[in-house]
């Protein structure tokens, strides 16, 4: 009896002192913030490699190492169907910053062009400057204890220039989804086979997305391979980055840009392949960790949210008009083979609602009796006008040209996803937002709102999510609202 009384008193005391936030520490939540991270996501890129640079649409991104230790940024370019077509490493001296113009990659077969022939790319042999204060002094290029022993050699001369044949292959894969040859292990499908065996969508410009991970060595493995997690990926939140999309149209040129998505490793630190417990229910790279022996959370990357509330204006020729750049988690795991990638070409969307400026709401076609109609499925990355009523609900009859969209981009889950346990041990069904023992977790997504008005007004802003990546997925048809929290 005394024991019970003591415990009750203890628990009561605990509850009294359990004020929020639960944590004030850095790198200790599921919230995606613009802070140094272990993975950067460029949700959408587009490159017109067929035009001269002076008129070509292109995307640039920049990666900064905000630590004094050297770091290796492992870049992967993915098609819009989630095929990892190119990886390359950027060696970053302490406090280094490196810009990459994807036009150089797709049109010139050069990564990080140098000031002359033979000096492109990045290298561990870069000279480290001597700076005036200790706090701004980069460490030597071998001073990162997480580097693998082979880093000194494999990072010594990272390729700035790659072969023209690879560039042609990339050009073709990122515009037609069809490889030139069997170099990727995916032979070009016979003519007339449609989307089957393709690796990406068909569009005149190269379109895809990029991930940038902090890594222990300069390897060519991709995040779709198990070996990446057991031997390459690191966990240090040290990278920041931004991007710009340039649209040259002579005197009507414009640019849009924003921060990359900063995805932190939680907890931070440790050697490549280290298995450290995390309370994240699942992780950004979850779908690629199915084959690992023990821990589906091995990458420790924060997951991204599923529901967003972007604003729109579709003001016609004389006003601002909005398009959304949407990134979506694929439904394939690391065991995907060539013929599987088409499944990432049309990933379902749970729900979309359009509100005008007078709060009138629309959904797709006449109100259903049994189940709401769903938006069109989408590829894993795309830029689409909010006036496109194939993907978004129709405009209301009010005549309002502005408003906002509620997008629950959950794809309904995939067998490649893990279903984890939420502390303190409650099994959770992410698909239906119930706490049962079965079901598939919600999917991850990201949305960027782009607005443009003639001749050259262009803005871009990250769309607001309604909760963090660990928040329960909203049920279709539920009251639209911010995600719940400990103090509703």
């Amino acid at each position: 009896m005394r024991v019970s009384a003591f415990l009750l008193a203890f628990l009561f005391t605990t509850s009294i002192f359990a004020a929020n936030p639960t944590t004030t520490s850095n790198d200790d939540s599921c919230d995606i913030a613009v802070q140094p991270a272990a993975t950067l996501l460029l949700p959408y890129f587009e490159v017109d490699f067929k035009s001269p640079q002076s008129t070509a649409v292109t995307t640039l991104f920049t990666v900064t190492n905000v630590s004094n230790q050297p770091q290796i940024a492992h870049v992967t370019l993915w098609t819009d169907w989630g095929f990892p077509a190119l990886t390359f490493s950027i060696f970053l001296t302490g406090y280094d910053v490196q810009g990459i113009n994807l036009y150089d990659v797709f049109a010139r077969a050069i990564i990080a062009p140098g000031s002359g022939p033979g000096v492109s790319g990045t290298s561990i042999t870069t000279t480290v400057p001597v700076n005036p204060t200790s706090g701004s002094q980069p460490g030597s290029n071998t001073s990162n204890p997480r580097f693998l022993s082979n880093a000194a050699t494999v990072c010594a001369n990272l390729p700035g220039v790659f072969t023209p044949s690879l560039m042609v292959d990339l050009q073709q894969i990122f515009t037609t989804g069809i490889p030139v040859d069997n170099a990727y292990g995916c032979p070009p499908p016979p003519p007339g086979t449609g989307a089957a065996d393709r690796l990406g969508g068909v569009h005149s410009n190269a379109i895809g997305y990029a991930t940038i991970d902090v890594a222990a060595t300069c390897s060519v493995s991709t995040p779709a391979q198990s070996a990446y997690y057991t031997g390459v990926l690191l966990y240090d939140n040290v990278l920041t980055g931004d991007y710009q999309q340039i649209v040259p149209r002579s005197d009507k040129s414009y640019a849009q840009g924003g921060p990359l998505v900063h995805i932190r490793a939680i907890p931070e630190g440790g050697a490549a392949g280290s298995l450290v417990a995390t309370n994240l229910p699942y992780t950004f790279y979850d779908r690629y960790t199915a084959g690992l022996p023990s821990n589906r959370n091995i990458d420790r990357r924060q997951p991204l949210p599923s529901a967003f509330a972007p604003r729109f204006i579709n003001g016609g020729p004389n006003g601002f008009n909005t398009s959304l750049k949407i990134w979506r988690e694929g439904i394939l795991g690391s065991d995907a083979v060539c013929k599987d990638f088409v499944r990432n070409s049309a990933v379902p969307v749970v729900e979309a609602v359009r509100f005008d400026e007078h709060e009138n709401a629309t959904i797709f076609v006449p109100p259903p009796i049994l189940a709401p109609p769903q938006p069109l499925p989408t590829p894993l990355t795309m830029s689409v006008s909010t006036a496109n009523t194939s993907f978004f609900p129709p405009f209301t009859a009010s005549g309002d040209v502005g408003g906002w969209l509620y997008l629950n981009l959950n794809n309904g889950g995939s067998n490649a996803y893990s279903v984890s346990i939420v502390p303190p041990g409650i099994p959770r069904d992410f698909r239906t937002n119930t706490s049962t023992t079965t079901g598939l977790r919600q999917s991850q997504n990201w949305v960027i709102t782009s607005m443009f008005a003639e001749p050259t007004y262009a803005t871009e802003a990250t769309a607001l999510a309604l909760g963090n990546g660990c928040s329960p997925s909203p049920k279709a048809g539920a009251q639209i609202a911010p995600a719940p929290n400990p103090n509703p």
Partner: protein, 474 residues
């Protein structure tokens, strides 16, 4: 003995479990400032050329969005660049409502949220609520169905003014361009803003969720005791427009800073414990029994942002910098001029080859960090500004800048632990800041984005780079 063992086991288990990061996966449960529905939105910098016609005038617009079915009231406060709250107005938001404000309308036309031709503008709780038959989850509630509204909301929000009185408009223009106002306790000699930004009105704005449509600003104790709410329901973004074909037709846009109340919820004036060490409105709660009563997340103090200075044919960079005011708000004649030039703890500029430069100090040979660069509460400056470190001699046109905007504390700040370069037992907390990076080229290309912060607003203030390595917060 058994009891002791059991309790120890319990404690050990609890400790071990709590030690596995992240400590929380819950929404609205951390000190991280993220793009999620919030209780306060900060527009860190606005600029309006109200003397030019709208077709050529530089202006700032912002939009506020209510993500809930319940109606909400957004209290907007426009502050001068020395942190004087010059104007407040309310935006009544029906459930799922969205409202844009063009600050050119405010400063040039004297109208808030202009209505249709012949209509006075403004917002009102008399707005018709639509009937959204499908989906049911998109139905706004009636305009009185927010249980946190005060009883007087029904009357005070019935007609939020669109037009601004002519005398007030003149006062606004004066305060935001010259810093001069006619208040007897803030005479011309004791200005409330600077006059170093030409004819354009410059300042910043806060937008809070509140319980009625009064005119109180965060300067009033009533604001926190009776009006401020704690619901994380607002979203917002801003655009800076430059529609001048001579200087360039370009726009920059970015989300507003989304500052959440943690924990969320409760009636106006409710005092709920928070583990936030201090809060966004800390400076304005000096008389309160609980200094954290606004429960707003604090902002970080140190930032690291990319820049390009490419000359006439390439991108160039400006930084919009918001800084927490230094001065207590009660003594106008002293307070606001004290916010004119507030110390920055540390600045270091890195080029693309990692060469570091500091602001050179007069009379000191060689490159040493100059201890006291100064900036006001909000400002926008190019990277060539004299108070930023100079470019390195490498010839690199790009790089990044480390800005530790900590003003080293104010006696008006609360201090629950020492944030002054460490975490010991004495000292004042660090100050809050925010940085937006604006890049533009040739009068056509322009991008704008939040600068990455070193850590969150609860992270310890970084030590000076003369003593500790620049890097992410621990």
């Amino acid at each position: 003995m058994k009891i002791l063992t059991f309790v120890l086991l319990l404690l050990l288990t609890g400790t071990a479990s709590a030690a596995t990061p992240p400590s929380t996966i819950a929404n609205d449960d951390s000190c991280d400032v993220a793009l999620l529905p919030a209780a306060t939105l900060l527009l860190p910098y606005f600029e309006v050329d109200f003397l030019s016609p709208s077709t050529t005038a530089y202006t700032t617009l912002f939009t506020v969005q209510n993500t809930t079915a319940q109606p909400q009231i957004a209290r907007v406060t426009l502050w001068t660049d020395w942190a004087y709250p010059m104007l407040t107005f309310n935006i009544f938001l029906t459930g799922y409502d969205i409202q844009s404000i063009n600050l050119w309308d405010v400063f040039a036309r004297g109208v808030i949220a202009p209505g249709a031709p012949g209509q006075p503008g403004g917002t009102s709780n008399r707005t018709a609520v639509p009937q959204n038959f499908w989906p049911p989850g998109a139905q706004p509630l009636q305009n009185d169905q927010n249980p946190h509204f005060l009883a007087d909301a029904a009357t005070t929000c019935a007609s939020n003014p669109g037009p601004i009185d002519a005398a007030l408009l003149a006062e606004l223009r004066s305060a935001f361009t010259t810093g001069n106002i006619s208040r007897p306790d803030c005479m011309v000699a004791n200005k409330v803003g600077s006059n170093n930004h030409g004819a354009n009105a410059v300042g910043y704005a806060t937008i809070d969720v509140v319980a009625n449509c009064n005119a109180n600003s965060p300067l009033s104790a009533f604001y926190f005791d009776r009006e401020l709410l704690f619901d994380n329901v607002l979203l917002g973004d801003a655009q800076h427009l430059s529609p001048n074909s001579v200087t360039g037709n370009y726009a920059g846009g970015n989300p507003l800073v989304h500052i959440r109340a943690v924990p969320e919820g409760g009636a106006a004036g409710s005092v709920v414990a928070t583990d936030l060490p201090y809060t966004f409105y800390d400076l304005y709660t000096t008389g309160a029994a609980v200094r954290t009563q606004d429960r707003r997340q604090p902002l970080p103090s140190a930032f690291m942002t990319h820049f390009i200075e490419g000359g006439t044919a390439a991108f160039n960079t400006k930084l919009q910098i918001w800084r927490e005011a230094l001065a207590a708000p009660t003594s106008c004649p002293i307070a606001y001029s004290s916010n004119a030039s507030v110390e920055i703890a540390d600045e270091v500029r890195f080029d693309e080859h990692e060469n570091a430069t500091y602001v050179p100090c007069a009379g000191i040979v060689g490159e040493h960090p100059c201890p006291n660069p100064l900036l006001a509460s909000t400002s926008s400056h190019p990277m060539t500004y004299e108070l930023f470190p100079p470019a390195a001699t490498s010839g690199d046109i790009a790089g990044w800048i480390y800005l530790n905007l900590n003003n080293r504390g104010s006696s008006a700040y609360s201090s629950t632990r020492n944030y002054g370069f460490g975490s010991t037992v004495v000292g004042r907390r660090q100050s809050q800041g925010w940085v937006v990076t604006s890049m533009f080229a040739e009068g056509r290309f322009a991008v704008e984005m939040d600068a990455p912060a070193v850590g969150n607003g609860c992270s310890p203030a970084p030590d000076l780079s003369t003593r500790a390595a620049i890097g992410p917060a621990p």
